[in-house]
Every structure is written in structure tokens, then in C-alpha cells.
Amino acid sequence: MTAMFEGYTGADGPAYDEMFDPAGLRTSYDQLSTSLAEMTDQEIRSRVDALQAAYLDQGVTFDIGGEERAFPLDILPRVIEMEAWARIEKGVQQRVKVLEMFLEDVYDAGRVFEDGVIPRSVVTTSSHYHRAAAGITPPNGVRIQVSGIDLIRDNAGEFRVLEDNVRVPSGVSYVMTNRRAISSALPETFAQHRIRPVASYPQRLLSALRAAAPAGVTDPTVVVLTPGVYNGAYFEHALLARTMGVELVEGRDLVCRRGRVMMRTTKGLEQVHVIYRRVDDEFLDPVQFRADSLLGCPGLINAARAGNVTIANAIGNGVADDKLVYTYMPDLIRYYVGEEPVLRNVDTWRMGEADHREEVMDRLDELVLKPVDGSGGKGIVIGPRASAAELEELRAKVLQDPRAWIAQPVVQLSTVPTYIGGRMAPRHVDLRPFAVNDGQRVWVLPGGLTRVALAEGELIVNSSRGGGSKDTWVLAGPGGGQRRAQVQRQVTSTSAPVTAGPATQPVPVLVEQEQQQQQDRDDQRDDQRDDQSDDRGDAPC
């Protein structure tokens, strides 16, 4: 073990450390730790620096308030064993399937309300419930082409669902760039593990998008719709468009004509069939939503309703990943598929319900309060960390609009050693696995984004709050996932020799010439000698 880990004790408090248990190293990190032990501190440091520089050169960045920053990537990967991953995969698939069924139901008959599983008011009061979405039937029945289910690991090491993201989940680009960066920063370590690859994501996404094309379109034109370069996730939008080989459009590139969506090209207007949009619902279509939006395209929703274009993910998905609906998810899973949830929720109280509220209001200082609509860690109040004044303000806000809040116990996110200022220190992480639904099956990208809160003790991991990330290695084999020796395929035929130019002309010619020249000289000398001998011969004795 290198000096990097000296004095590493795992997390303070009850949090689960993924690399060390009280007795020592966990088996999943065996190989990684042996491999790191072979490196000196200097070596690791120089690799960390190279990693940073590579991200800046490649422009792997995100924007905070207009400033472009490199996305911090930690040198130490996070390892997830095959068995643990199998459970995550199953749980995510189950959840996405149920969320699809729920959305289908909400924007259709609403059986779930009549059967009393969830009150209709929970959905109708959601700010993401859009009447405009009613009547838009997805061509292959898929509304959630891409989802990101946020998971955390509780104090016992069990993966739990923290929230669902089925609108425009972001971060998948970093899964791919992180893998590339880490494999070149730690090639030896990488080679010693059998890690499931993540590079196929764009192809999976593209085929899911193509599968969602309007009926009768055999070769659909797919585009990625971005709000523009100033959006925090612009890098990701560009990367996805690039790796899928499709156009990256902004709202102003699109125009609706007679219920069809066209894009302005140098050759005139060209019809678009599937829009993978990374613009929020409210900005998509000024005719239906915010009239002042310049990010969308007027007429988009009507074109979708006419069945001429598919918008992915579908409009109005926000009702399903509402934090309040989240609290009903276990019931919804039982109701729709008759199974127990594979991945459990974090215990949650709904502030909108009187008995829950009563239970929570006295203990605000012990709990985490989250706004139902919030994302990116905004508005979250962590009770034990808040001042009395902050708690008072929170109390007032909650009482004013209880529907807008939920409460959860302070879950200590698990920790993983992270390179901070020259040594390893425990930092809290979460995990966002990404799932792609092409209508046939829900595919879960083996890896997902591990976000890490870089400040000591910090529990909010969002990149907008100064979070970084880690490469996430899902092992392909049991145990430490060591790579087995593979049979090298032999090259049988010999290739043609490489030709060379005159400067490296094969030597024999020169040698020959040189010999020739030498020979000539020798001959001359001989002649001279002969002459001399002749002279001598002729000389009178």
C-alpha cells in the first residue's frame, strides 16, 4: 500500500466505505490496490496532473454561470462487483418499466387513481403535469428513452434509490470520457481488470431513437436539440450528436411547416423525424408553454400530436420523477407489475400530509428537507448543518406550501477514497446508472456516473455545487475481476515490405559503385605500377 493511503480510516461516522471495512481492504479493491502500490507517490501525482491537462485540452467542461470549467475527475476509480451490479440492473429495469406504465396511465385512463394507489391530486398539482402532453401517443409506446436513476449506498452498503430522472437526465458523456481518460492514465491497472465497456452507449441510444420514429418512416432523421453553447451540459449534447453521427440543432435551426418539423440546412429545409431534446418542457414550444422561450420551436407540440415527429423523452414525463410521486413508487411497482421493489427507496415523509408533517416539524434539525421540484441540489436543507435562523426560514416555507416539500433522514452517502491534495481521503459518492429503452427492452449502461462531493463531509454531489466524478468500473467476472490470459491470435501471412525513398537506398548499389571506383583506382595504380615496371624493364641495367 502506498503512502497515499496512510492513515486512511474510512469515513467519519457511520457512512459505508466502499474500499475498506473495519477489518481492512474489501476484496473488490484487491487488484486495484496492489496495482497502485507499485507506483510511487510522484508517479501518481504526475498522472493526476496529466489527467487534468487532458480534460482541458479536450474541452471536457461544464459551465457554471457562464464560466467554463474542466469537470474534476478523480484518479481512483470506483469498483462495483458483478453481483452488486446485477441487482442494480434488475432494479433499474423494473423501475423504468413501472415508470413507463405509470406515465401511460396518467396521460390516459388514470386507472391508478381509481384504484386508490395514488391520489389524483398528487399528479394534477405537479408543476410538470402538462395537459399539452395528453393525446400525444408515442409511436412505439416509449416515453422514457433515456433515464437516470440516482442511487446511493446506505450505511449497511445497500443500494437505495434517491430519485428518478426521466426528463432530461445528463452526465452520460462523462461516463464515456472518464473511461477513456482513466484507461490512459492508469493503463496497467486497467489492463489487470475485466471491466465492462461503456462505449456502446451512443449506438444504443441511436437505435432507441430510431425505433421511436413515427410510423412508416424507414430511415428517420434524428437530431439532438440543445439550448446552445451556454447551457451547462453543452459538451454532452455535442458529444452525443458527434458519437451518434447526427445533427446537433438549436431551436432557431428548426421551423415547423404544415405540421412537420424541418431544419434549415445549406440546401434548404429538411424534415426531422426524431428529436432527442435536451431542452426542458417549458421551453420547447412557445405556442404551448413559455411564450418568451427562444430555445424551442413554435409548433413543435402540434407536429408531435400530428404524429409527424417524435420528441424524446416525451413531454410531461416530469410527473413521474416528481419527488412526491417518488414516495409512492414502491406501491406503484406492486400495483403495476406485482413485484416487490428490487431497489428500495430512502425513507421519506410527505410534508403535504398532516400526520407526516406533524412527525417531522419538531425534528427539522435532524432531517433533510428537499423541495419537490428542485434539481441540481438547489434548495436542499440539511437539518444538522443548518443554523437556527435557516431552520426558522425553512419552517415558514414548508408551512406556506407543504406540497412542495419532502423530508428524509440524513443518509450518509457511502465514501470512496479520493485524491485530495496529495493523499487519499474519504469523500461521499452517489451513482447514476443510465438506462435506454428501445421498446423491446430496457438496457442499463454498465457503469453509470459516480459523482463525488469534493469538500470534506459534504453530502451534495451535484457538479453545480462543486462536485467531481469518478470512473465507475463494473467488473465482468466474479470476485476481483482479474483478467484472464487470452490466446493471442497469430499473424500468419507476411505483409509486403515497406518501400523506402532514395535517401535510404539499399546499400549494395553504393558498395558496388564504391568498389567499382575503388577498383578503377586500383587498376590505375596497377597500370602505373606496370608502367613503372615497364620503365624499370626498359631501363638500361
Binding site: F235, R264, T265, P286, V287, R290, A291, S293, P298
Partner: protein, 312 residues
């Protein structure tokens, strides 16, 4: 190809070329100021500023240092190398998904030298060499890695138009300074990397007239105005797929073709009689051609605003 992306490609070409050519012009002029004792520094600097289209007060003091700030280091000054490199990178960021990865990295790493302070720490003439190297890297990477699709045509179109425009400015500066300094044309040729080629072509006969002819009219030298314009015309031709039997449908092509023919078919003495005015006319043609290209290919890209519906 999306109009907006096409526009970005066009401007990547222009900005990279602008940075490179500005570096070449500055290289010549700073060298002259150092070498030639007869050069009036203030007057030269003023001429340089007006040729580069930088507005300046007649009473403010300009010297070598202010020129370097305005035309090289200051990222806020619109005509500076720093701002051209910044703008090239910003355009590249908008066209990120169409650029090849090495191409993007070449542009991005070049730009990264600006905020990191590396660019400023380089002094002349090393800084000009650096800019030339970076431009060569970007252009070479484009040459080696980009498919010859529309995007590439727009990139080269932008580069060629900018090169014609900047060579015109370079020739104008040479013409203005050559009255006082005999070596101005030599230095100008050197800045284009064309001095030896020129000597070979003209068999060592070094005349101002010959140098002007070489930079203006040589069909084989890639930085000459005629060559640059022909290259631009060729790109436009490639962009207009269906060959037409008569004339040209494209305004930009008409403008460029007419200007090139004008340069080539007039007698040299006529052209060089008043070089600065002639070169200024050429710059206006380049601007008009850019407008025409914008109208024809990029016009769709402007934002539409939705009026109507209640505000939410």
C-alpha cells in the same frame, strides 16, 4: 449541413487565418522598426493601425508597445490575434460535433494558451512564430482528418477569403513603407515564407514590381491574392452541386470572379500605380463576398421570436 454549423465552419477558417496573417504582418513591421533607422515609429504604427482597420485618435501616442497590445495581446481589442484565436475557438465549440476530434483539440489547445498566460509570456518574434505554428497545426489537421464534405468547403472558403483580404493588407503596408525603406518588400516576402520561391521564380532579380506581382498575381504561390480567390471560387463551385450551362447563380462567386479577372487582365503597371487604394477595394470585395455567402447559405440561422400567446 445545418446553416448555423456551416457559418461556424466558415468563421473558424477566417479567424485562424486572420490570427496567422496578423502575426505575419506584425512580424514584418516590428522587424522593420528595429532594423531600419530611417523608419518613423509613430507614423508606421499609425499606418499599420489604419490598414488593420483599427480606429485610433490622432493625438494619442502610439508606439511599438501599443501596437502589440492592440493587434496581438489584448483579447478585448477586436483586431488582435488573441481575440481572433478566441473567436475561432468559440466558433469551433459551436460546431464541435462536426469537427474531427484532433481538429477540435488543435483549436482548443491553441486557445488555452490565452487564459493560461502562456501567450502573453511569449515575446516577439517568438510569439509570431508560435501563432504561425498553431495555425499550421490547425490547417494541417483539417487537411489530414476532415472529410471533404460541405463543412470542409466552408472552412476553406472562409480561409481563402480571409487570406485574400489579409494579403491585400500586407501588400498595402509594404507599399506604404517601401518609399522609405527598400527592404520592406523583401521582409514582406519573407513573412509569407515566399522569399526563396520569389527569388527562384524571378531568377534573383529583386524588384518591388516583381514582388508585388508575385504576391498579387502568381497563380502557383498559395498566399497570393489571385490564388486565394481562385481557391475560394473553387469552394463555391463545389458547394453548388448542379453545374449550370451559363453564368453563375451565386453572388459571391460573381463578385470574386470579377475581381480576380480584373486583377489578372489589367496591366500590372495599372494595378501597382495606386496599390493602397487598389488593395482597399479588394478588401471591400471580400466583405461583400462574405455578405453574399451569408445571405445564401447562413441566412436561415437567425433566431425567430414567437409573438402572441399570453406570457406565463
Amino acid at each position: 449541413m445545418l446553416s448555423r454549423i456551416a457559418e461556424s465552419m466558415f468563421w473558424i477558417g477566417r479567424y485562424v487565418e486572420r490570427a496567422e496573417d496578423t502575426a505575419r504582418i506584425l512580424d514584418v513591421q516590428t522587424q522593420l522598426m528595429l532594423e531600419d533607422p530611417t523608419v518613423d515609429e509613430t507614423a508606421t504604427c499609425r499606418t499599420l493601425l489604419s490598414i488593420m482597420g483599427v480606429p485610433h485618435d490622432e493625438d494619442t501616442e502610439v508606439n511599438r508597445q501599443t501596437i502589440l497590445e492592440l493587434l496581438a495581446y489584448d483579447a478585448q481589442a477586436p483586431a488582435s490575434i488573441a481575440s481572433a484565436l478566441g473567436a475561432a475557438r468559440e466558433s469551433a465549440r459551436r460546431a464541435r460535433e462536426t469537427l474531427s476530434e484532433p481538429m477540435w483539440e488543435a483549436v482548443n489547445t491553441t486557445w488555452r494558451a490565452l487564459p493560461s498566460g502562456r501567450f502573453r509570456s511569449l515575446r516577439p518574434p517568438a510569439v509570431f512564430g508560435w501563432v504561425r505554428d498553431r495555425a499550421a497545426l490547425v490547417n494541417g489537421t483539417a487537411e489530414a482528418t476532415m472529410t471533404r464534405d460541405e463543412g470542409y468547403q466552408f472552412l476553406v472558403l472562409g480561409r481563402s477569403i480571409e487570406r485574400a483580404d489579409m494579403t491585400a493588407r500586407l501588400v498595402a503596408t509594404a507599399a506604404l513603407t517601401s518609399s522609405s525603406a527598400a527592404s520592406a518588400w523583401t521582409t514582406t516576402l519573407r513573412a509569407c515564407g515566399a522569399y526563396e520561391a520569389f527569388l527562384r521564380t524571378y531568377r534573383g532579380l529583386e524588384t518591388d514590381r516583381g514582388a508585388a506581382e508575385f504576391l498579387l498575381l502568381d497563380r502557383l504561390f498559395p498566399r497570393s491574392i489571385v490564388h486565394s480567390i481562385s481557391r475560394a471560387e473553387q469552394c463555391l463551385d463545389n458547394l453548388e452541386s448542379g453545374g449550370s450551362r451559363a453564368g453563375f447563380g451565386n453572388d459571391a462567386q460573381r463578385l470574386l470572379g470579377r475581381t480576380r479577372a480584373d486583377l489578372e487582365y489589367r496591366s500590372l503597371s495599372d494595378v501597382v500605380a495606386n496599390l493602397p487604394a487598389e488593395m482597399e477595394r479588394l478588401q471591400y470585395t471580400c466583405a461583400a463576398a462574405t455578405d453574399a455567402v451569408t445571405r445564401r447559405y447562413f441566412a436561415g440561422a437567425e433566431a425567430t421570436e414567437w409573438h402572441g400567446g399570453g406570457n406565463l
